[in-house]
Structure formats: structure tokens, C-alpha cells
């Protein structure tokens, strides 16, 4: 007789299907965290080229601006901005709710059981996150493409 481990494993972090908004935001938070970590490593590698002198540095800057054709660099940068803004704002939201703030008091569960901790003020925070994310990323992307702060 032998039993088998039925671990879902790290792949299940990215399986929010069939669950609700909080589970989706958890998956996105993990994903954006990994992307940001990889970006930071690449960023340190990129800026370390300044040690090789101005010619290497300038040619790298040109290459990163136009890796696969004109103005592809700004698109990558916009992506990084979106990822960073989401991770930062959701981090603030999690700091609030994970300390038990803006959550309901213990209540009586009633059929059809809908968890109140994922609703109410937590939902307000999620909507604020969405609105702030749209504003910040709109300003940021406008700046990336035009160089002008609104």
C-alpha cells in the first residue's frame, strides 16, 4: 500500500480560474513580483555598462530603444511601469487588509454563504486601486512616449 502526494505545487499560484477577484489579484501580484525581480536584475546588468565608457553605453542605449524596430523600447518600458504600479498599489492594499483593517467584524454566516471579508471596504480598496492605476499609468506612459509631464 502506498499513497501518493497530491501537491498542487507552485503552478497552482497561477490558476485563479473558478475563484474570485482576490484570488486573481493574488496571482497577478505573484506574477508581477517575479517580472519585477527579473527586470531589476536586467536593469543592474544594463546600467553596469556605464563602466565600459560612453561609446558602449550609448550604443546599448540605442539598442534598447530600438531592439526590434522603431520605438519598441518605450513599449517594454510601459509594460514595466504597469507591472510596477500594480505591484505597488496592491501591496498597499494588502498591507491594509492583512492587518485586519477595513475588514468586517465577525458576523453570522447566512445561506448562500458569501464571504464578507472579500467584499465591502475591501472592494472599495480594489476599485480605488483600479482608478489610481489608470491615472498613474496614463500619466507615466504619456511621459515615456513624449517626455512631457502632464
Amino acid at each position: 500500500m502506498m499513497t501518493i502526494e497530491n501537491k498542487k505545487g507552485w503552478i497552482s499560484w497561477f490558476n485563479p480560474f473558478k475563484y474570485g477577484t482576490d484570488r486573481w489579484m493574488y496571482s497577478l501580484h505573484r506574477l508581477t513580483g517575479i517580472i519585477l525581480g527579473l527586470y531589476l536584475i536586467a536593469h543592474v546588468w544594463e546600467t553596469s555598462h556605464i563602466l565600459d565608457g560612453p561609446i558602449t553605453w550609448n550604443s546599448l542605449m540605442v539598442f534598447l530603444d530600438y531592439p526590434f524596430g522603431p520605438h519598441f523600447g518605450p513599449f517594454i518600458l510601459s509594460g514595466v511601469l504597469l507591472v510596477a504600479v500594480y505591484h505597488a498599489l496592491n501591496g498597499i492594499r494588502l498591507t491594509i487588509v492583512e492587518n485586519g483593517l477595513m475588514l468586517p467584524k465577525p458576523y453570522r454566516p447566512e445561506f448562500p454563504y458569501r464571504p464578507k471579508s472579500l467584499k465591502g471596504l475591501n472592494n472599495v480598496l480594489k476599485i480605488m486601486l483600479g482608478v489610481l492605476m489608470i491615472i498613474i499609468s496614463a500619466v507615466g506612459i504619456y511621459f515615456i512616449f513624449t517626455g512631457v509631464i502632464l
Binding site: K7, R23, P104, Y113
Partner: protein, 267 residues
């Protein structure tokens, strides 16, 4: 009126395919899926479907069940990708022609759809889910107002089905994580005004694999068949422990009733 209510009752309304994950520990094979065609009548639950398979199609399909009405918490399984009690899930309400039935994740499988829940019970035991008092034998009752009961009452509804540990993404990678069920139960006993065991539970709850590993994905609350909302309990416990590091948490002393010779009452 009665004819209308019973319309279609007892007739076969449609045939659905059950795709059940099979695993036999005595054969040295990996788990595999097998399909069964089940005629569905009105009111049939997924558990009824599995029992139909067991009765008519394949006697070797194994599932754990007991009460068939969502009280005992034995028949938790993953139905179409989400943890649900098989006895509470109507086949017609799923509205699918294919129903995929998996055993709960993050537990060892004993056979087919039967998970080994000993990890859940071990974790539950480790948070000392009972009222701890200093005195050996209390001389009187501990009084509790309805408001004091409301502070923890929702967490007493837990039926230990273990579905929250299956849905929890932290538990999927951290073997030693206590899990939402145990943490919510820890909160339930700490906030009980009759309890005095806060310091005894602290080393288990406030540990590396304790309350701080929760990332509030809310999956445990979503799958809970009793609406216990363990995620809320974990966050409130976290608030309690975080504030405890600044101002020492003092458990409420329950007022005592009239003194008696014995609490068992007779003498």
C-alpha cells in the same frame, strides 16, 4: 401545483459524462482518468452520480461520504476545478455535459477520491482547540454574554472538511503551513472570553509557518461550504498578534457564576 413541482421528477433528463480520477495504491500505476456515462434525474447530486457509477458501472470507484447533507464534511472533492462538497452540488445546476471529479489537492491520496486528512487534524490539534484554564477543576460556571459569543461564533461552524487547505495557494508549496482552518480555530479560542491560553498557543501561531505565511488570496473563504470565512479569521488573528508586539494582549476574564460544589451539577 403539486404536479408542477414534481414535473420531470424521476425521469432521466439528460446523460452527463463523469471524468473521475482513479488511483489504486495496490497497482503501481500513476493516476488516470476514466469516463462514465450517468443518467441524471432531477435532484441528483454529484455524490449520487458517483454512487450510481459504483452501483451500476464500476464497483471499484472509491469516495468517502457519510451524511449526504453537508454536515459531516467527508465528501469534499474538486468538481470542475473548484473544491466543493459532492453532496451539496447539484448536477443540473452545474449545467455541463462533462463533470470532472478530482480528489482534493495538497493531501496524500489513499485511493481514487479519498484524501488522507491526517495533516489537517494534526494542524488543528497543534493550535489547542479547547478552552485552557489555570485552575484544575472550576468551582463555578464562566458566564458569557451573547455579544461576547458573537465575537467568535462564526468560526465554530467549521466542519473540518479540509477544502480550504486544498484551495490555499500557500499550502500548495509550504508543507508545514498551518492552514486557514487551524489559524481560524486558533483565533476562535483566543477571543473566547473563557479561555486563558493565549501564551500557550503563541509559539505555534506566531511562527515561520504560522499566521504570517497567509497572503490573503481569499480562496479558503470562497470554497468554505459553511461560510466560516477563515480568511477573515486569519487577518483578525494577524492584527491581534501584530498589536501584541506593541501592547501585550490581555485576554478577557470571564465573570464567574455562583459557586457550586461540583460543576457536574448533581451533588
Amino acid at each position: 401545483m403539486q404536479e408542477l413541482a414534481l414535473k420531470g421528477f424521476g425521469e432521466v433528463l439528460k446523460t452527463v459524462t463523469f471524468r473521475v480520477r482513479r488511483y489504486d495504491p495496490e497497482k503501481r500505476e500513476l493516476p488516470k482518468y476514466m469516463e462514465y456515462k450517468v443518467p441524471v434525474q432531477m435532484g441528483m447530486t454529484v455524490l449520487d452520480g458517483i454512487l450510481y457509477i459504483k452501483e451500476h458501472l464500476d464497483h471499484s470507484v472509491s469516495a468517502r461520504y457519510s451524511c449526504r447533507m453537508g454536515i459531516c464534511g467527508s465528501c469534499g472533492m474538486i468538481i470542475n476545478g473548484k473544491e466543493q462538497l459532492a453532496c451539496q452540488t447539484q448536477i443540473l445546476e452545474l449545467n455541463k455535459d462533462l463533470i470532472k471529479v478530482d480528489p482534493m489537492g495538497n493531501y496524500p491520496i489513499v485511493k481514487d477520491l479519498v484524501p488522507d486528512l491526517s495533516k489537517l487534524f494534526r494542524n488543528h490539534e497543534s493550535v489547542k482547540p479547547y478552552i485552557i484554564r489555570e485552575e484544575e477543576e472550576p468551582k463555578s460556571e464562566f458566564l458569557q454574554t451573547p455579544e461576547q459569543r458573537e465575537e467568535y461564533a462564526m468560526f465554530t461552524d467549521c466542519i473540518l472538511c479540509g477544502m480550504c487547505l486544498s484551495a490555499c495557494p500557500t499550502n500548495a508549496t509550504d508543507e508545514l503551513y498551518l492552514g486557514p482552518q487551524s489559524l481560524a480555530q486558533g483565533y476562535r479560542y483566543i477571543t473566547d472570553n473563557r479561555d486563558m491560553g493565549f501564551n500557550e498557543r503563541l509559539n505555534v501561531l506566531d511562527s515561520k509557518h504560522g499566521v504570517w505565511r497567509c497572503h490573503f488570496s481569499g480562496a479558503c473563504s470562497e470554497v468554505c461550504p459553511k461560510g466560516v470565512d477563515p480568511a477573515l479569521g486569519v487577518q483578525l488573528l494577524r492584527q491581534l498578534l501584530a498589536s501584541n508586539s506593541f501592547v501585550k494582549y490581555k485576554q478577557k476574564e470571564a465573570t464567574k457564576g455562583p459557586e457550586r460544589k461540583s460543576v457536574s451539577g448533581v451533588s
